[in-house]
């Protein structure tokens, strides 16, 4: 929380108060200093901030005893001697160069020493306020005591064992609460009087009515005196800017000082030290000054019109005494004499008071204060600017808002362009390739399948097991169709079975003109296994025998077995579960390209004599022309898969580059 008064700065040209962050004076248009400059360093032609780092400046500011909190408390204790003792020590230490520059600049900007004068005058007046305040309190108490003594003049000669006169004891008996309240309040507040307490105390002691109850004539008299110093203060403010709180500039009512206690030199030192110490608290006490002024007005009113008030107070008392004095004429005369003596004494006291008022009004102009170092006046401003500069330097290089990726669109555009180029390459490959069959080499497995098929001779039986889905129909059925043609050409006895009901209608067209029919084997791989066991019990009929319309022994008389399946799992189950019961069969497979790799171990081990996998091996069976378009489609699909993989790699690389760029920027 910064006090608003902290953000004020004075225009060096016209003296107008401006905001700290104002670059141009609002009154004269004078260009103000840059907020990022530190006073005392900006005009240096030889040294710059680089020579004396900011850290050194801040450390020097922090180590300055005048800015330390402990030293600020000195003001509260009122020990001027400590402040005085610190000045020589500061002078003994070698001053940093920036401090010398600040002082030099301050002297240049303020050669007449107006700022220092104002500071000194303010401090001096503050001391005067304190002294006058104490003096007024003493006189008020004395006058109260004297009035009480005057009313009991005939008994004034009576003195008790404590040395107190009789009239004093009577007063105490008549006003016990006032004294007790005074003692309690003084003990409770620990010698710290608040403004309200002091004002209330004055009213009680003097018996004055509240300010709103005061007669209008009394303040009018005082306002004539009070308006003049305010006017003087307003005249000083714009020209002599200082960061001393306004409360330190005393009001005219405090001009009754005890000049005998302080010499002019002491006053200057005290003023400068207090000004330095109180410099940090100046703004915080600004509001308090207004309350002091109101209190001062009340005190001034009592001081100046002391006699009048005494008269006003004395009159009712005198009336009462007159009523008493009818019976005691001697006492009345004695009281009148005492009253006249008291009046004469009060006139002697009040006369120099008014004279001192007039003197202070005359002496309102700043006093010569050439000994005050102006750099201390600028410390606060300098510290604030250094703090701002430090914050700016600490935030330098940091990203306050997330930086949008500048090359994001470029990266996306590059990815799109690259994708389009790859797609165009695929299309060009498809469209502009020579219209001939792709030159695929025959795979060893396909060659082995063809060789195994060639071993078939007329009269042998072949079991064809179907197990494929509709989705792989276009990849398998051309091969199956070519196989059927070959088997039919060789007049091979063919038996077709399936455990997949789907193959009953899926392959029906292939066997439309064939004598062979597709037989359904219930139970899936378990049905094949139960049939492969071969040995049937003589004592019971198996359910499987009743389920199959023809001969249940499907493996009887077979020399070759051809599995037509798009599932490597089916082939694996057959080879692992059923083939051990039918080791004599030459097994070969027609499958898809996807399932081919899983069958390679069985081919390598000799359990499968050979297999053809998809359209890539179609050439081995002699099917080329009709499958050319499908082979192109296969190539396109393969190219697309390559493209997708490359895009995945490119996207990952792009993402890595973005993350690396963000890290580097961070």
């Amino acid at each position: 929380m910064s006090d608003p008064s902290d953000e004020l700065r004075i225009c060096p040209h016209c003296g107008q108060l401006n905001s700290v962050y104002t670059l141009v004076c609002i009154n004269c248009g004078q260009e103000l200093d840059d907020i990022f400059e530190i006073e005392g360093l900006e005009d240096s032609p030889t040294e710059s901030l680089d020579e004396q780092s900011l850290e050194t400046v801040l450390n020097a500011l922090d180590e300055n005893p005048l800015l330390s909190p402990e030293e600020k408390n000195v003001e509260n204790s009122g020990e001027d001697s400590e402040a005085e003792s610190k000045e020589p020590s500061d002078e003994e230490e070698p001053l940093p160069s920036w401090l010398n520059k600040i002082r030099q600049r301050a002297k240049e900007e303020d050669p007449a020493g107006d700022l220092a004068k104002a500071g000194k005058a303010a401090d001096e007046k503050r001391e005067q306020v304190d002294e006058a305040f104490d003096q007024v309190l003493r006189r008020i108490r004395e006058s109260e005591q004297s009035k009480a003594g005057r009313t009991r003049k005939p008994e004034s000669n009576l003195v008790d064992e404590n040395g107190d006169p009789e009239w004093l004891r009577r007063i105490r008996e008549l006003h016990p609460n006032q004294e007790e309240s005074l003692e309690d309040s003084s003990a409770a507040s620990d010698d710290e009087w608040t403004d309200e307490e002091l004002e209330e105390l004055f009213r009680k002691e003097l018996g004055l009515p509240k300010p709103d109850e005061l007669p209008e004539e009394a303040p009018l008299e005082n306002f004539e005196i009070l308006d003049e110093p305010k006017q003087a203060e307003e005249e000083i403010a714009p020209d002599d800017f200082h960061n001393i709180p306004d409360e330190d500039i005393p009001s005219p009512w405090t001009l009754t000082t005890n000049e005998e206690n302080e010499t002019p030199d002491d006053t200057q030192e005290t003023a400068s030290s207090q000004m330095e110490i109180e410099n940090g608290e100046a703004i915080a006490e600004a509001e308090k000054a207004e309350d002091d002024e109101r209190l001062a007005e009340a005190v001034e009113h009592h001081v100046i019109d002391d006699f009048e008030l005494d008269d006003a107070e004395a009159s009712p008392l005198a009336d009462n005494e007159e009523s008493d004095a009818t019976n005691l004429p001697e006492v009345e005369e004695a009281e009148r004499r005492d009253y006249e003596e008291e009046q004469s004494e009060n006139e002697d006291v009040s006369q120099p008071l008014i004279t001192e008022f007039e003197k202070e009004e005359i002496d309102e102009s700043p006093q010569p204060t050439e000994d005050i170092t102006p750099d201390l006046i600028l410390l606060r401003d300098q510290r604030d600017r250094a703090r701002i500069l430090n914050e700016i330097i600490s935030q330098e290089g940091r990203r306050s808002i997330p930086l949008p990726h500048e090359n994001k669109n470029n990266h996306r555009l590059g990815s799109i362009i690259l994708s389009l180029l790859l797609i165009l390459g695929i299309l060009a490959t498809i469209l502009f390739m020579p219209n001939s069959s792709p030159a695929f080499p025959n795979s060893p497995t396909a060659i082995a399948f063809a060789e195994n098929l060639e071993t078939l001779s007329e009269g042998q039986s072949v079991l064809l097991v179907l197990d494929y889905q509709a989705g792989s129909r276009n990849e398998i059925e051309p091969l199956l169709e070519k196989l059927l043609e070959s088997l039919e050409t060789k007049n091979i006895s063919l038996r077709v079975v399936t455990a997949n009901p789907e193959n009953l209608w899926l392959s029906a067209k292939l066997f439309a003109g064939s004598p062979s029919e597709i037989e359904f084997i219930p139970g899936g791989i378990l049905g094949y296994l139960s049939l492969a066991v071969a040995e049937k019990p003589d004592w019971v009929a198996l359910p499987m025998d009743k389920a199959i319309k023809t001969d249940p022994d499907i493996f009887a008389g077979l020399s070759h077995l051809i599995l037509v399946s798009d599932s490597s799992e089916f082939v694996r189950s057959w080879m692992e579960q059923i083939s051990p019961f039918q080791l004599r069969l030459n097994t070969s497979v027609i499958t898809t390209s996807v399932s081919a790799p899983m069958l390679s171990p069985y081919f390598a081990s000799g359990q499968i004599k050979g297999y053809v996998a998809g359209l890539s091996d179609a050439k081995t069976l002699g099917v080329e022309k009709d499958l050319l378009v499908n082979q192109r489609a296969f190539q396109v699909g393969t190219l697309l898969m390559i493209l997708v993989l490359l895009l995945g790699i490119i996207m990952k690389l792009d993402e890595d580059s973005r993350s690396n760029a963000e890290r580097s920027t961070e």
């Binding site: 066991v533 003589d538 790799p597 899983m598 990952k652």
Partner: protein, 203 residues
Amino acid sequence: MKQKTTLIVAIVSGLLMLGALFFQPYAAPYLALVLNWLIIISSSALLVGIAGLVVNHLGFILKARKGCLYSLVLLVSFFATIVFGIILGMDNPDFLQGLSAILLPMQTALMALIALVLMSAAIKIFRQRGWSILTVSFAVSALLFLFLNLGFVRFDSNPALQNFVAIIQGLPMIGARGLLIGAALGALLMGLRVLFGQEASDE
């Protein structure tokens, strides 16, 4: 006791199958009989599963549960297939043509979806898994074999390079063999656990 009964049945069945395998000429009739029992039981289980499916979807329709329209389509198509199969017979060409008209595009679309999923996985594998040995080896091998299977590059003129390519093309067989051996060992261990009562399949 209930658990022990199932466990005893499982152990006895396994031992019988092993005995029938090792003493095949003599135990083959018993093995065929047991397998037929197994087929019947599995077929009955399939019917029970179908009945449960129908009941569940009927419940969805009666409760007007969200998505009950799909249940209605399923039940209508199911009962229509049964009715037409019983009336027309499984060998009726019209009936088979109707089934083909439904199943063929459906499974083809499913295969296409699988291809798209694979393509999407190929893109995401690098972004999700990052650069690791697995992803890099996958990318290199996939690109290599896809490129070799395209048929655009021939090494007929260079027998040494052709042999090298053949060795490379044999790498999938090594992987497949490893998978098959691993699966066989897993099945063997599972069978042994069942035989020794370590695996409670009914739990």
